[in-house]
Amino acid sequence: MDFYLGLAQIVGVHTLLGLSAYCVLLTGQVSLAQAGFFAIGAYVAAMLTVLAGWHIVPAIAAASFVAGATACAVSFPALRVKGLMLVVATLAFGEAVRLFFFNFDYQVAKGEVKIGPAGGEGFRQIRFFPENGWSTLDVLIFIWLFVALVMAGLWWMDRSRAGAVLRAVGEDEVAAQSAGINVTAVKVAAMTVGGFIAGLGGGIFAHYTAHIEHAQFGVALATFAIAYPILGGLSSVFGTLIAVVFVQGFLIEGLRFLGDWRNLLFGGLILLAMNVRPRGLIDAATIAAVKRMRTSNKEPGNARTQGAE
């Protein structure tokens, strides 16, 4: 049972990571910096709870704000370029953050042991959950509370004017600009929100893994962050959630019985998924089909006329 609870925790945190990339991808930008914001969130939150003795909620809130502010600051120079240049710029930023934490040594003596991030060895003493007696289930509920909050927020935003503006910039920048949208402001806002969500995910991640080190926040994690929304489709926030469940639950845990062959299948299945469903697992057509099904269930007469069309 604990295994499934642990898996659900991983799915929750990765959903936050995926949603952070989802925000940015909506504006048509590919950002490989999400792992960097995630790392900033993880280190800041862990340092606040371990070194400053904060409670976890203000700590991850502060971590999200730091990550969001960093994202905002980075996006100004980075958004001068687009396309491949932006991919490389954000990739380089993410790697620079990772290398910064690789060289970051800030240890404080507490009693006879030294605690704090220790460069390449990582940050070990993150024990907020066990020290305060949180069970695995408590942690799980805590994580999914935030996931639900973020998903609800993004879902609501998607249906509001802000979502339409983001998608307009993503579909066609020139058209959006001529419709009076400040494209740069929209992109910076999306990056900031994305950084905020990534920082939130990172703060939670640091506390449930209890040990963070630079290698966890590399290019691989950045790629996963954009892989979730792209695989799931950008038409709905639920696409990202389904992609995370598909990747973490099915591809990584579900195929474990295949042993060594699982990893081979992993890349192959991503390739297959992109060839079969280039617009993601849940694309606009799927959503339209679901909506049609719902309306036809409510009004059987209406469905017949639709079927006749």
Binding site: L25, V30, P77, A78, R80, V81, K82, G83, L84, M85, V87, V88, A89, L91, A92, F93, E95, A96, L99, F100, F102, N103, G120, G218, V219, A220, T223, I226, A227, I230, L231, L234, D260, W261, N263, L264, F266, G267, G268, L269, I270, L271, A273, M274, N275, P278, R279
Partner: protein, 296 residues
Amino acid sequence: MSYLDVIDTLQSVADGVLFGATYSLLGIGFTLVFGVMHKINLSYAAASIGAAYASLIVLSVVKAPAIFIFLLAGLAGGIIGFMIYVVCFRFIPQANPLATLMSTVGALLLIDEIIVHATVGIPVPYPALFSDVIVNAGPFTLRGDLMFMFALGCLSMLLLLVLLYRTKLGIATRAVAQQPVAAQLCGISIPRINGLTFVITGVVGGIAGAMIGAAIGVLSPLLSLPLTTKGLIVTVIGGLGSIPGAIIAGLLVGGFENLFQYFRGVTERDLYVMLLLFGFLVFRPGGIFSPAAGRD
């Protein structure tokens, strides 16, 4: 700074520039695919390493002099490049850049895992050529294997430039890069040119993979992600779609990174390469040889 320090500094820069030839080749691969298709092929560095592995397998079956390993790696790279074109690009709608980005990530993971699976995760030694030759030029020493690599890199770049600027295929490739619709109206088949571009970049990548293996001495799938990062950085610093830019940027990045490895150690080395990139993005976003304004 004493005389010896100056010598050591120059020595490390020289070694870096020689090794930078591999970065140049990788940068050319990224830049060519971007120039022709306006797409990023993230699996390129992994495919190059894969081609180097394939050449080792062939060489273990057929007895041949070690120099053939570079030819074999180029050949294997061409085949892998074409396969990547078919699985990652051919059947995915061109208008959707995210889908091909993701499919190349899938190919990257697949190639890495095939290598891990085939070698049981153990790095494989790679034969170096002329590693016993050391040239003394005044106070400097130049490693024979690095010099050979550099010469081979320059030769392949030269051949590539001849191919692109002196042959019919090269004209067609550049036509598709400049104006796909007009090229198609002139009777050039775009899928064919795209496929051939992948074969050409694959050959270049295979040679680069073999050069990296020969310079480092071992091959490991762990090389593919750092090389992807370096190759992309070289592409951006050189200017997207610019081959001379990629060549110069590769040598620049190679020398720069070795310089900072000498001064600041291996853990901080890449941090300064990223700073160099940010410097370029802020002050010269188009790269060393930025293309004419209005195109991206």
